[in-house]
Amino acid sequence: MAATNNTIAIATVDLSKRFNHVTALDRLTLSVARGQIFGLLGPNGAGKSTTIKILTTLLEASSGRATVAGFDVAADPIEVRRRIGYVPQLLSADGALTATENLTLSARLYGLHGARLTTRVREALAFAGLETVAHKLVRTFSGGMIRRLEVAQATLHTPEILFLDEPTIGLDPVARRTVWERLQQLRHSQGMTILITTHDMEEADVLCDELAILHQGRLAVIGQPEALKAQVGPEADLADVFAHFSGAVIEQEGYYRGIRQSRGTIQRLG
């Protein structure tokens, strides 16, 4: 069931996820165009990781639909998996293995073998800038090296779409930049669509073509960084946008709701 619309990489319709009593994701509807770097922003617990996990087939949605690379995540998870890469929120390369071993395992699980596997692993090491430490255990690596390894690992099979959950969290400014460069490189050389989540406004500004801000599982706003800034005010930066569309707005809403409620109480009393 390939998508008719070839310009859309990711589309969700009313996507929701409930964990017992917590609504982690509440009727999320959005689409991401091919070749974009798309940023998912939002405070802790906003539902960013939940969204990524549903889109990468790790988690089933409670309701709603999602299409990734033209395939429905619930109906055709294997087709989706063949076409995506995923870098989890935690640094998750296996520390007890070398860089090469980490890459080889992923390459094999993506069905690569023979000369193609060898070539792709070598290219991945070069891409990550880890040729000289290819046979060192990953537990001896710095955070930046591990992240570059993970990006390389997630793109061994040249996926159409790459998902990264807070790719630069905990990295120093230099390491952060090298990760950004790698992502931009992937987009330019392969036209890869990239979806990242981040708390870092600079990252969102530098890297992303389009942003969505989630709050308490709901889509607060979606748009290009410049458009969002303009919407908030002439001097506004992304931090203002973020505050406006997540914390601040909700505080206001709570305030209004508070007034309405107390009014209701007064009316009843009256």
């Binding site: 790790l58 988690l59 989890p88 998750s92 293995l97 080889t104």
Partner: protein
């Protein structure tokens, strides 16, 4: 099918590399069988408190202790799985198109290989204590096969539990809770005949019983199997397949 084997082999290869790199755990797990055989086995051999026919008690219990060491190390396999979950390694495996059953099978095979190394250590201890070991090729292959399948069973069982409890604390509790009954409700250190009926009933449903039975028939001079290899291995393979199917279903839940 070939793809499935290739994926399994990829996982096994990775696991074996990790084991080879860190053999300390493997060696430390050898301490327990040494204690059982050297202390418990020696003492009860002298007491003659347990009827083992013409066999010395030490010889009688050696296969049981081999099976025990397999059980005790395989049952903590799930800890490693929970560890991998906490690190996000499980998530990385699960976003690949690799079949879930292949991932789980690959891990089981690695546990099987590790069981063989462990068996070699138990053999060394047994030799040192002058246990009457059979050295003919066919019985030794039977022992190796039993050790391998037994390790696969208990490691996969452990993985299933890990998928259900998901946290290390709960796993440790349940792991302790399960291993002792599995061990004592089996023929590992005393014959089924001297058990009360209810316990014998439970033992008949315990895969460890069939592992011990097969090992007892093949490992020691004068030992014999009650059920016969065909029955013991048939039951063990069936249990393994059922556990494998269950594990393949539950494993993806670790990413939630």
């Amino acid at each position: 099918m070939l793809d499935w084997l290739y994926e399994s082999a990829a996982v096994t290869d990775t696991e074996v590399r990790k084991l080879a790199r860190d053999p300390t755990e493997l060696l430390s797990r050898a301490v327990q069988p040494v204690l059982w055989l050297a202390v418990f086995g020696q003492v009860f051999s002298h007491v003659r408190g347990i009827p083992t026919g013409s066999l010395r008690y030490l010889d009688y219990m050696a296969p049981g202790i081999l099976a025990q060491s397999i059980l005790f190390s395989a049952i903590f396999y799930g800890i490693a799985i929970i560890w991998e979950r906490d690190l996000g390694i499980v998530h990385k495996l699960l976003v690949t198109p690799a079949r879930r059953s292949a991932l789980v099978f690959g891990k089981a095979v690695a546990a099987g290989l590790r069981g063989l190394v462990q068996a070699a250590v138990v053999y060394l201890v047994a030799i040192a204590l002058h246990v009457a070991i059979r050295w003919e090729p066919l019985p030794m292959i039977t022992v190796a096969a039993g050790v391998f399948v037994g390790s696969c069973i208990f490691s996969t069982f452990s993985l299933v539990i890990a998928c259900i409890v998901k946290t290390r604390e709960r796993f440790m509790g349940i792991g302790q809770l399960l291993t002792m009954p599995l061990f004592f409700a089996s023929n590992a250190i005393y014959p089924l005949d001297i058990m009360p009926d209810w316990l014998r009933g439970i033992a008949a449903f315990n895969p460890l019983t069939y592992l011990v039975d097969a090992l007892r028939g093949a490992m020691i001079v004068g030992g014999h199997s009650v059920y016969g290899d065909a029955t013991s291995f048939g039951i063990m393979l069936l249990v393994f397949l059922l556990l494998l199917a269950l594990a393949a279903r539950l494993y993806p839940g670790l990413a939630r």
